[in-house]
């Protein structure tokens, strides 16, 4: 038993509930033009490439926050889904893993599957 399959599906279950939004960011021309060129040269989409990268940066920030700030930031509102940063923190045992990680929009069969845990 590696647990990889279990970890994979649990992560996917968190991901399907995560709402994505489009945010406009202004970059200095130096970086804007380099990003455009790199995305053309190495064939990657600009809009979705930073989704995962930003989550990783946020995780690294969370690790270095003062204790009280960490506890404040790791809280999430009831109507908010359990995010990928929280998921990674919970995998490290730094915050509690939610008993029900699925949001309202999750398909019913996933909710059922998760309840049986």
């Amino acid at each position: 038993m590696s647990g990889y399959g279990e970890e994979f599906l649990k992560r996917k279950m968190v991901e399907v509930t995560q709402e994505a939004v489009t945010v406009t960011v202004r970059l200095q021309p130096k970086y804007f033009l380099m990003l455009k060129l790199l995305s053309q040269k190495y064939s990657f989409p600009i809009s979705t490439s930073f989704t995962e990268l930003i989550s990783k940066h946020l995780y690294d920030i969370m690790l270095n926050l003062a204790d009280e700030d960490f506890d404040d930031m790791a809280k999430y509102d009831d109507d908010e889904s359990f995010g990928s940063v929280n998921w990674k923190l919970s995998q490290e045992g730094l915050i509690e893993q939610p008993t029900l990680a699925l949001g309202e929009n999750a398909p019913d069969f996933l909710k059922e599957l998760f309840k049986k845990e």
């Binding site: 995560q18 709402e19 994505a20 939004v21 489009t22 945010v23 406009t24 960011v25 202004r26 970059l27 200095q28 021309p29 130096k30 970086y31 804007f32 033009l33 380099m34 990003l35 060129l37 790199l38 040269k41 600009i46 809009s47 979705t48 490439s49 930073f50 989704t51 990268l53 930003i54 989550s55 990783k56 940066h57 946020l58 995780y59 690294d60 920030i61 969370m62 690790l63 270095n64 926050l65 003062a66 204790d67 700030d69 960490f70 404040d72 930031m73 999430y76 509102d77 908010e80 889904s81 359990f82 995010g83 990928s84 940063v85 929280n86 490290e92 045992g93 730094l94 915050i95």
Partner: protein, 151 residues
């Protein structure tokens, strides 16, 4: 769970950009000294997880930074890392191409028409001395942009 925080500190990696950014949040390290462009920023649309946006806003509120400032710092860092991940000949090629695009677009260069190329040049021992920048790209008629404080 006191040891929860101890574990958190133990796996925190000082080599990561997020670590450095959090040090800036607490004023424990100085902000980047790189001269900022005089031009307005150019808009890029990116897809983010709503939960991450909420977290950025909470951090911004706590540490007095805007969402835009936190995001652009992260993204510009990633672009620089992407650039340096290339082989050195590709670094030079993309540097020259983007420097030319900046010139054609009328954007101000951090260093006279060689903003990116300067990042990949090997800096000799006299780097930073008065006159060093001029010796690199001699253009006797223009010395207004000469700066020697690149890292």
């Amino acid at each position: 769970m006191a040891d929860r925080h101890a574990k958190r500190k133990a796996i925190s990696d000082p080599e990561k950009f997020g670590y450095w950014l959090s040090e800036i949040f607490y004023g424990r390290t100085a902000k980047d000294e790189e001269p900022k462009s005089k031009d307005n920023g150019l808009p890029v649309n990116i897809r983010l997880i709503q939960n991450d946006v909420n977290l950025i806003d909470r951090l911004g509120k706590r540490f007095g930074m805007s969402r835009a400032a936190i995001l652009s710092a992260m993204i510009e860092n990633d672009i620089e890392e992407m650039f340096f991940a290339q082989r050195s000949d590709d670094q030079i090629a993309t540097a020259v191409e983007v420097d030319n695009l900046m010139t054609e677009g009328g954007f101000s260069h951090i260093y006279r028409k060689k903003t990116w190329l300067l990042e990949v040049l090997e800096l000799p021992a006299n780097y930073g001395n008065p006159g060093y920048a001029n010796s690199l790209f001699p253009t006797p008629t223009d010395s207004s942009e000469a700066k020697g404080d690149e890292k």
